[in-house]
Point group: C2
Chain length 257, copies 2
DNA sequence: TATTCCGATAGTGAC
DNA sequence: GTCACTATCGGAATGAG
């Protein structure tokens, strides 16, 4: 039996193994697998945090100032379609919600780090933080009660959590991304549409009443949808370059809010 | 009256002249007008020959090794659509035929000048010509009887005469062009299709039975037609770059024929 | 809807 | 079907003993 297995394995190795190897490591669709299998290797330094259930990474091609991916590690879950699985597994949905909300707060803090000094509405927080940091204190920073700081800007409201109707990467991934769309990696129409149209499914939309229908109804024409500014609602048709320039202008105002 | 005219002229100058100037010299569609109005100026040195009825020029963007345009000078003729006028004015058609045939012989001679030394079938002519030129003679070359030379390659058969179903330039022009399509100015699909499909109307097809119908029936889908090699009949769909490479290969064989 | 490269397609402006 | 420029759209490959 052992010998039989071995023989069969040898046969597989000669015929199927190269194919399997290809579909695994060399197929781009499988590119997220390495993170859930070996987060401790911290591939390319993009692992933010991980535990037995989830891995959080920085997206390799971020489409906004902050763009994180939340990856469930359970292999049988990771291969499911997000619209289906999040609509039918309430326990899993609850665990994703809880974890994604934590990650969203992390993302909000990162937005503050990047743009706090430019923000008018964050000035009270920034001033208080500076005062606190410069004031003599015997208490360690991490022990100080940060809730005593004024709220400042609501950065969390700039973060959106959700999934794509038709993901390209085969491992389930939940996007935690800021909405201002400021990134050199935002290079074409689909990049923007995938986060700012019904192609995007917010985590708070789950469970979907008819996920199968949504997957079908969105798929045909969505690359033809107009570019519409998330900030001012202005439409740009298919004129991506012009739209990109507009986004950059909006970004300058947005970070100063 | 003279004063009145002057006043009107002044008015035109202030209001309409810029517009007229625009539609004349600065509208690309009118670009051939200068040649039929002032061939003696020989704009850009491209006038080959002219008389009261016709001007022959070298195309500014030749789509083959030899590409001449025959332009009728009569303004009321020059503004007619070629399919219509050549189908309804037999006298004009006859005069164009006679003149175009002369120009085609000129074009054939130019092909011989360019490629005669590479051509196998032209070798008898080339040898005889060289012998004649090197032989002592008191007779001037232009007085020698060239008909005594062997025929060599039939370069005239490589020349085609015709018009486009939908010309872009507003002045009537008859193309006299070699068919091998060897030119750096042949840059996209329509360039080739316009000389090697039914978009091209050979002068020998006139008068058309129903020229109006042809103008309508060809117009819609013709840019979608497949690229087909004039030499070998191979189809290349829309793959222009690949087709262009093929044309260059065919050209190498063609000139050696 | 992963990126990247290449090429085909489409719109515009031309004084 | 004028050219030249820009940008958009579209398919194909994508690894590596």
């Amino acid at each position: 039996m052992s010998a039989s297995k071995k023989t069969k394995a040898a046969t597989i190795s000669a015929e199927d193994a190269p194919k399997q190897y290809k579909t695994y490591a060399h197929n781009f669709k499988e590119g997220l697998g390495i993170y859930i299998e070996h987060p401790e290797r911290n591939p390319e330094g993009r692992v933010v945090e991980y535990d037995d259930d989830f891995v959080v990474i920085n997206d390799k091609f971020p489409k906004a100032s902050v763009h994180l991916l939340l990856l469930p590690r359970n292999p049988s879950i990771a291969k499911q379609h997000p619209l289906s699985y999040l609509s039918t597994e309430p326990t899993f949905l609850a665990s994703v919600r809880a974890r994604a909300e934590q990650v969203a707060n992390l993302a909000a803090a990162e937005l503050r780090r990047q743009y706090g000094s430019h923000s008018a509405s964050d000035a009270p927080y920034q001033s208080a933080l500076e005062d606190m940091m410069s004031a003599p204190s015997t208490v360690q920073p991490e022990q100080q009660n940060l809730t005593e700081l004024p709220p400042g800007r609501d950065w969390r409201s700039e973060i959106q959590i959700g999934v794509h109707t038709h993901p390209s990467m085969s491992h389930m991934h939940v996007h935690i991304i800021s909405r201002e769309a400021n990134s050199p990696w935002l290079k074409h129409k689909k990049h923007y549409l995938s986060f700012h149209t019904r192609f995007w499914v917010g985590l708070d939309e789950f469970p979907l009443v008819d996920e199968g229908r949504r997957r079908v109804e969105e798929v045909r024409e969505w690359p033809g949808w107009d570019l519409v500014c998330w900030k001012c609602g202005r439409g740009f048709g298919n004129r991506f370059k012009e739209f990109k320039g507009h986004l950059e202008e909006e970004f300058e105002g947005w970070k100063r809010e």
